[in-house]
Symmetry: C2
Subunit: 162 residues, 2 copies
DNA sequence: TATTTAAATAGGAACTATTCTTATTTAAGG
DNA sequence: CCTTAAATAAGAATAGTTCCTATTTAAATA
């Protein structure tokens, strides 16, 4: 995992400060580990994994536990301070439908529902994106809370770290 | 996992037949397990997991191995006969960028790159999709082969089941 | 500034999804 | 029918993630 800087040092420190305030506002204690974890996210390009973060911080906090990284990232996610990319579910899921279609994913129960949006095919993506590589598939992902989970209320949460 | 029918029996059998032909065309042997696995995908609504497929077929093939389901689904995926939903990578990845942005994912190296598409915000999704639940996030996902992997050629593949 | 205490952490065990290994079975061509 | 390379079953091994518990610490309060 590259550690190239996304932003310069003072920008990062500013965001860490701002983050620190956000934690207090959310009744989250401001610990060294939490700040380092957030800083690591900012310093790493390309959506780091838990392990990337863990190894990066280990040089600073030699007895950081990997469980702390898991707990903390999930905590940040649950408070909307960061987002989780791609792997909403921890289980692979498969689709025999090769037609052009899109997905709504429930962030609570991880259900994936299809929808169709024929007009979307006509919208052309920006040049910036075209240059990233050979594109094989272009689809829309919606995230939210499905009707079923809305009915059930908060208690339907999956039970991970707080 | 629900087993409600997506299509009626004869539609499914027709697709299984067609699939069988496709296998031969791809130099894949047509085994009972493979046909049952594909049939299970067709019969299950909502993008089944490996375990969903496994349990469904166990009643028909009592000593099916779960490894066969893993191998077979990955094989189908590699031949473009089905797609894998959501979890391209097997590791959670996180993003501190809460701005509205989109992702290009390399199907070979699993790298995720950001791009921006301000106009996309203005496109309104179809009613069909609005009715699925409370939508919190709307983004575009591109899949393809990144420039780096294209340079490296086929050998850059991740080494899973053939 | 010192004290208190609920919350956070470290460390390691446990769990779960996925992949690997090897002996056995089988599809499909001869 | 035979043959053989490919596919499978069974279970071991691995890797990512979560759980458990004793210890530490942030931050509220005296």
């Amino acid at each position: 995992m590259k550690r190239a800087k996304k932003q310069n040092r003072s920008d990062i420190e500013e965001r860490v400060q701002e983050f620190s305030r956000l934690c207090r506002k959310n009744d989250l204690r401001v610990t060294n580990q939490r700040l380092e974890i957030f800083r690591a996210l900012l310093e790493t390009v390309g959506h780091p994994t838990v392990e990337d973060v863990f190894h990066q911080i280990r040089t600073i906090l030699p007895n950081l536990s990997i469980d702390t990284v898991y707990r903390t990232l999930t905590l940040f996610e649950n408070h909307g301070l960061i987002t989780r990319v791609q792997c909403l579910s921890d289980k692979g899921r498969f689709d025999p439908n090769l037609e052009n279609h899109h997905h709504f994913i429930c962030v609570r129960c991880k259900k994936i529902e299809d929808f169709y949006w024929p007009e979307f095919t006509d919208y052309s993506i920006p040049d910036e994106a075209m240059k990233l590589g050979m594109i094989q598939m272009k689809k829309v992902e919606l995230r939210g809370i499905c009707n079923e989970c809305r009915r059930k209320g908060r208690n339907a949460h999956q039970k991970k770290h707080s």
